[in-house]
Symmetry: C2
Subunit: 181 residues, 2 copies
DNA sequence: CTTCGATCTGACCGATCGGTCAGGGTCTGA
DNA sequence: TCAGACCCTGACCGATCGGTCAGATCGAAG
């Protein structure tokens, strides 16, 4: 009576995550994923409409939390918005650092695709909020360096405990950010 | 008497730089470059042994300066090494931000290729030097975030004057780095 | 006029890409 | 027993990739 639910679909997701993390999204072929799962490429495309659908599913929860953060930022102004944005982003980076690592070095390419246009807009608002003074070049530079640096590297610290990583990133951000007003 | 040196080779280099900056190294085909130059793909491969040779030539000067920085860092210890590394890297990022932008989002992939293994090693020593205390996780995290963030974003500030960008990055680095000893 | 090297072209190569398709098992419920 | 849904395969598709090659063009030198 034990319903043998085929685990292939989950296997594909975890295999894809592993491969994406090593060779990137573009650098990973459907054949690579299929080989790692131990099935045919056609089987992969049976469970997912196309390659992008695999990535989208891997990112679904991350995107959800990112949108929630965007709304929380929008509810604040000035220094409060800056704090919410910076701390919220650090939390998100720590929590989803494995997922973010999948995209290491492909943010800019992927964000330019129409499917991710709304994420592009969210990240622009995020930069503005963290900058505090979006019209001041030095503030924008600081914000961009911090956000891009965290996004680009957080995946490297898979073995650092969440709390330790969060504390280190928060301390860095607080030291680095210029206070608003 | 004016020797009409064919400018095709230079055209290829500038066209490749333009395309790499927009669609990345992997995302740019030899056909793309040839189309932009207005010649055949075979002409591109007449002037360059292969695709990688184009990138190597575009990066030659950057790599040279990076190696010089590595040697200068090696001649110092502790806080002095940290200062030399951080300020040297900021200088390099500002000066070569157009070239660095060509690689945006492809550092990790390209560095893993055997041809760039020595650059990989240099960047590891750079991180250690900037961290100051390489054995302390929070110091390594700070260094990696700053270096990756600067490398990843400096190309975005093509329209910011060199001096202004350098000042902003130096101020950020000084605020963010934990002092050694 | 002929030769020769430099420059460039179009046709072609094998490999790989994402994706499609017809069909074959296998399990389940009627 | 049989229909049908589910899961999966191998063969195949057109497109594109980096790269090769024989030969055309052409200016300078002899």
């Amino acid at each position: 009576m034990v319903r043998v639910v085929p685990e292939t679909r989950d296997d594909i997701l975890t295999a894809a995550a592993r491969r994406f993390a090593v060779t990137g999204y573009r650098g990973t072929s459907l054949q690579d994923i299929a080989r790692e799962v131990g099935c045919s490429k056609a089987a992969v495309l049976y469970h997912f409409a196309n390659k992008e659908a695999i990535l989208t599913e891997l990112m679904a929860q991350l995107v959800e939390v990112l949108q929630a953060l965007d709304e929380r930022i929008a509810a604040h102004r000035g220094a409060a918005a800056q704090r919410v944005a910076a701390e919220g982003f650090v939390d998100l980076a720590v929590r989803f650092r494995r997922e973010i690592a999948l995209l290491r070095g492909e943010f800019s390419e992927l964000l330019n695709q129409p499917a991710f246009a709304h994420i592009q807009r969210i990240s622009e608002r995020l930069v503005d909020a963290v900058a505090g003074h979006p019209e001041r070049p030095s503030a924008r530079i600081t914000a961009l360096v911090l956000l891009a640096g965290i996004a680009e590297t957080c995946g490297e610290f898979a073995d650092v405990p969440d709390e330790e990583l969060r504390a280190a990133l928060l301390a860095l951000v607080r030291r680095a950010l210029e206070p608003v007003d």
